[in-house]
């Protein structure tokens, strides 16, 4: 169980187009790709070595079958299914020249407002689509859909993050144009989404000056996995005790290559640099 957010079962989720009243249920259709497996009918050399600095004991050797037991060597990544699907998503984005940005943050960082302002800036120049992820409600998708861009809402139910399967289903119903931008607003949570690759081109983390400068130290996995950190609500700096340099230093101690931009989605300050950063990313995938 997710000890941080207390989320429970995530077997089904809902994908709704903004403005659509009938909910659509997304089922986890699991397809599996397997490598070879080791049954004990044949001798079989392994090329893996146990070089992980640990001792490793088996109650039986794989080819022993006394007392009616045997050991099946599996050695598979537990996140393999998500990672494979994430790579499929990534391949789709690459083939179509789509820049896909996964926006992650804690709740209340101003993610949706920032996305609204970003979409307004970009949509005159490029086609933009949005996937909104929240546990419940259509509120965010309705806000974004008012900007007249294709938007879907994925409700994760009791789940606390989006996964590659949800995004895969979601993007199929969006009909995303070639060479466009896709924003995925992940569930507001700095813990669980860190582990789940969606196939995005870049992961952008938003922290705001109303949060503590120690956030990077408290949630190192998320800070480690991001390419850009947007420090939002810059306009509130005179009113809060937030040392931007200390925040950067904390984040750099986790992720030495993390880039930073300071913005205020409300006043528009710094939004030009964010826009330039997105253009730069877009140029990179085009070449």
């Amino acid at each position: 169980m997710c000890e941080t957010c207390g989320c429970g079962e995530t077997g089904s989720y809902q994908i709704n187009k903004a403005g659509q009243t009938e909910p659509g249920i997304g089922e986890h259709e699991h397809s599996h790709t397997h490598g070879h497996s080791h049954d004990n009918e044949h001798p079989h050399d392994h090329d893996h070595t146990h070089d992980d600095m640990h001792s490793h004991t088996h109650p039986h050797k794989p080819d022993e079958s006394h007392s009616g037991q045997r050991i099946l060597e599996v050695r598979k990544d537990i996140l393999q299914e998500n990672n494979l699907l994430a790579e499929r998503n990534r391949g789709f984005f690459e083939a179509k020249g789509i820049l896909c940005i996964n926006l992650v943050s804690s709740p209340g960082s101003g993610k949706t407002t920032l996305l609204e302002k970003t979409v307004k800036l970009l949509k005159k120049d490029f086609p933009v689509s949005v996937i909104e992820g929240d546990q419940q409600s259509m509120l965010d998708a309705e806000r974004i859909a008012k900007l007249d861009v294709p938007t879907i809402q994925i409700n994760t139910g009791t789940g606390c993050h989006l996964d590659a399967q949800m995004v895969n289903q979601g993007m199929k119903s969006l009909n995303i144009p070639d060479h466009s931008l896709l924003f995925i607003e992940n569930v507001g949570n700095l813990v669980c989404p860190a582990l789940f690759d969606l196939g995005e081109t870049s992961r952008v983390l938003i922290m705001s000056v109303t949060e503590g400068v120690d956030k990077p130290l408290k949630y190192p996995f998320m800070f480690r996995s991001a390419q850009l950190c947007l420090i939002n609500k810059k306009d509130l700096l005179p009113y809060v005790d937030f040392d931007i340099e200390q925040a950067r230093e904390n984040a750099r101690s986790i992720n030495g290559s993390l880039e930073f931009l300071e913005v205020s989605a409300t006043t528009g300050e710094g939004m030009e640099a964010w826009y330039e950063w997105l253009l730069d990313q877009r140029m990179r995938i085009a070449t």
Binding site: M1, C2, E3, T4, C7, G8, E9, T10, G11, H30, H32, H34, S37, D39, D52, M53, H54, H56, H58, P59, H60, S65, G68, Q69, R70, I71, L72, E73, V74, R75, K76, D77, I78, L79, E81, N82, G159, C160, H161, D163, V191, C192, A194, L195, F196, L217, P220, F221, R224, R252, S253, I254, N255, G256
Partner: protein, 115 residues
Amino acid sequence: MHELNLAMAIVEMAEEEAKKNNAGSVQQIELEVGVLSGVDPDALELALSLAMKNTAIEQASVTMLHTEGQGRCNACDHTFTMTEVWTPCPLCNTPAGKILQGTELRLLSLTVDDL
């Protein structure tokens, strides 16, 4: 972290491997949970006990192997033990080294009864 999702994936993978290999009941599940994987072993164990209920692997015991974290310093190339993802290089104190080992999250093996 998201241990219940992981537990459900483990159960599904274990059931499928056992079935594919014509195995009887699964007695033991051996997992590798690296110390830098971002997974809380206690939470995963609890989640597994829930996820395994009423499945073909309900009676299996779970063992976890906690692979040590290792990193290489980006500045001086020193290889060192990382107990946390932010452990700096012990020689030159440079933070955020490259993680070489410790993020593993794998189903290693199943001990199964023959049919």
